[in-house]
């Protein structure tokens, strides 16, 4: 640990964007809970599929104002895969508002935001693998960095100069977004075309489980996004997070027990709570799903290691 501040280390908790297509009422209930939680920051927006339409940009903005009024910092995220002019129109609408910071989902967003000379958050799908790349983005106006999912914590610490280069956030809890496609795998599974998908992804509140042929849970299909079946969980890795200069932890929404997840991280990361007990409690929330932390420790992402 490099300094008293780091040793004392507190972590801001961020509620990442909801990756799934939840009915509007469920979404509102979810954020009503988040509003009362220990999370400091909430990232809002549809980041996966433009066809999901229950929430328009104006609805996200209204929700953002409500959460802001409850004392939360709100960041608006742009879609991860931009394919069409209509995708770009939504992106510009988000970039042009000036009430909230914008988290760039791709280089299209970076172009719009840097042309407007607006500060921005580097989303987890912007590839920053080294110090020089981060410096370039900081010069352009990046004010916060969410590290790519596959980057080991040791590397995160090199890229951000131990935390001094930029406020650094890592993906600390949730099914991991691993890949994006133009193709919808949920629709494919249901033998539907993408343009007539019947919004079947709404039936899978936490994605649709894909297992290997010998029964090992492997991935989760979430429309055009492919996630890990396992849940990344870095609650046991506090020392390594501090050493890597990480100051913010992203918790990715799940349909059940998520408020308990937030408070478990608050308890361990900011209140010196016992990580072993908290880990057991988190595992109990999703007993049939593996918790993993391999990426953080420079191993395959599907691995778990008890060594912090």
């Amino acid at each position: 640990m490099t300094s008293d501040a780091a040793a004392a280390g507190t972590f801001e908790l961020t509620v990442g964007p909801v990756q799934y297509y939840w009915p509007r009422a469920d979404l509102m209930d979810f954020y009503a809970g988040v509003a009362e939680s220990s999370a400091a920051t909430v990232v809002l927006g549809e980041v996966v599929c433009a066809r999901r339409h229950e929430m328009k940009t104006a609805d996200w903005l209204a929700l953002a104002r409500d959460l802001h009024a409850c004392g939360k910092e709100v960041v608006l995220a742009t879609q991860t895969l931009i394919e069409s002019e209509s995708d770009l129109r939504v992106l510009r609408r988000i970039a042009e508002q000036s009430e909230f910071w914008v988290e760039a989902g791709d280089a299209s967003a970076l172009n719009v935001l840097t042309e407007m000379k607006r500060p921005f958050v580097l989303g987890p799908h912007i590839n920053v693998y080294n110090r020089e790349a981060l410096r370039q983005y900081l010069r352009m106006g990046a004010c916060r960095w969410i590290a790519p999912i596959e980057l080991p914590l040791a590397t995160v610490g090199i890229v951000n100069d131990g935390g001094s280069a930029a406020a650094t956030e890592v993906f600390a809890y949730g099914r991991m977004p691993l890949a994006m496609s133009a193709r919808c795998f949920t629709a494919r599974h249901h033998r539907l075309s993408k343009d007539a998908c019947e919004f079947r992804c709404r039936d899978d509140a936490d994605g649709l489980l894909l297992s290997t042929s010998d029964g090992r849970p492997f991935l989760a299909l979430n429309g055009v996004q492919t996630q890990s079946a396992a849940i990344q969980c870095l609650i046991s890795n506090r020392a390594a997070l501090v050493a890597a200069g990480v100051s913010r932890l992203r918790l990715s929404p799940a349909s059940t027990g998520f408020l308990e997840v937030i408070e478990a991280f608050q308890h361990v990361m900011n209140r010196a709570g016992d990580a072993t007990e908290a880990l057991a409690a988190l595992q109990a929330l999703t007993p049939s799903i593996d918790l993993v932390n391999g990426f953080a420790l420079a191993r395959p992402g599907i691995d778990w290691s008890a060594a912090g």
Partner: protein, 348 residues
């Protein structure tokens, strides 16, 4: 130089022929591609600085020098793929690769990491930069970002856009556009896929490999052969069933009790059928995938595509896919089915 078909006598100027950009995993493949009519070849060094970092593949300095001389003497170009993301503790390896490309006279660098772009822009401002498919630029805004900040002159589009989206990207921008014409097909957006590192620790972005051979195990049992990737069962073949390389996204998995190719069937991309459309919309270059393939594969594919591009440019309206081309390509693809991929989105 190859004999090219004479352009027809139209009132409007004939369309500009897209460059044929062919893969060279070795000096022999480079020479055969050049002889078979490639306008440019692309290649990489023998390390993690490029996205085909496989044993026995790629170029050392002497081979690179000879390859560049060979291509240049015949009026063709050599593009160097430096299209992985520089590892944080070894950025100098990527910088040295840029210097090598500049010193030996590569015609352009194919890059994905803005750190590499910034270094090349500052140290070798005369060296043209092409935006790699690994940079995941899927819109004209994303391409303009790299043009504005790093001066890229060409962008290779990810294999996820439809033809009309490709046309829109070309119409809205001033950067030359290169698209994939033939070869293996990524169903995921390139440069943003961590499936391989999730399963094995190594990915295209961090190691220049996907589903690396070192992680593959073939396991025989009484009634099946299993293909495992770091222990994970990717596919299981009955005796006599054709087997494919266990690329993670092309395996058979179970979803809701049904076993199927849940992500992508093991097909490969072939855009010969839409070549006149690509020419008409102003695609500047067509890329053939396959630096990992044999020199003879590269030669035969290059020859087919040379003929096809010449025919499409000579008269797009009368252009037809020659059955001989199809049969050559089908033979080379080991019986795999061909698809237009995202370009026409049968699954849309």
């Amino acid at each position: 130089m190859l004999q090219r078909a004479e352009p027809p006598n139209h009132e409007t100027p004939p369309p500009r022929a897209p460059e044929l950009v062919c893969p060279a995993g070795s000096l022999r493949a480079l020479k055969l591609a050049v002889d078979a009519g490639a306008d440019a070849v692309y290649l990489g060094l023998r390390n993690a600085t490029n996205a085909r970092n496989f044993a026995g593949l790629n170029f050392d300095d002497a081979q690179l020098r000879e390859g560049i001389a060979y291509a240049r003497a015949r009026g063709r170009q050599v593009l160097m793929a430096l299209n992985t993301y520089a590892e944080a503790s070894q950025v100098d390896t990527w910088e040295q690769a840029v210097d090598t490309a500049a010193a030996l006279g590569a015609d352009a660098l194919i890059v994905a990491d803005i750190a590499v772009m910034a270094y090349a822009r500052d140290k070798h401002p005369g060296l043209p930069l092409h935006l790699s498919v690994q940079a995941s630029a899927t819109s004209h805004e994303a391409i303009a970002f790299h043009q504005r900040h790093f001066g890229i002159r060409r962008a290779v589009l990810p294999r996820v856009l439809t033809l009309s989206q490709v046309a829109s990207v070309i119409a809205h921008g001033t950067v030359d556009i290169e698209v994939f014409g033939f070869g293996s097909l990524c169903v995921m957006v390139e440069g943003r896929c961590a499936l391989s590192s999730f399963a094995t620790g190594q990915s295209p972005n961090n190691a220049g490999v996907c589903s690396p051979p070192s992680a593959v195990r073939w396991v025989d049992s009484a009634d099946a052969v299993e293909a495992r990737l770091n222990g994970l069962l990717i596919d299981r073949y009955a005796p006599g069933e054709p087997r494919g390389y266990p690329t993670l996204c092309k395996g058979r998995f179970e979803v809701d009790g049904a076993r199927d190719y849940a992500l992508e069937e093991p097909t490969s991309l072939n855009t010969l059928a839409v070549l006149p459309d690509l020419v008409r919309m102003g695609v500047r270059a067509i890329k053939i995938e396959g630096r990992q393939r044999s020199p003879s594969y590269v030669e035969q594919v290059t020859r087919v595509w040379r003929q096809a591009i010449d025919a499409a440019v000579a008269d797009g309206r009368r252009y037809r896919v020659d059955p001989a081309w199809t049969s050559t390509l089908a033979h080379l693809s080991e019986g795999q089915h061909h698809t237009l991929g995202a370009y026409d989105r049968p699954w849309r």
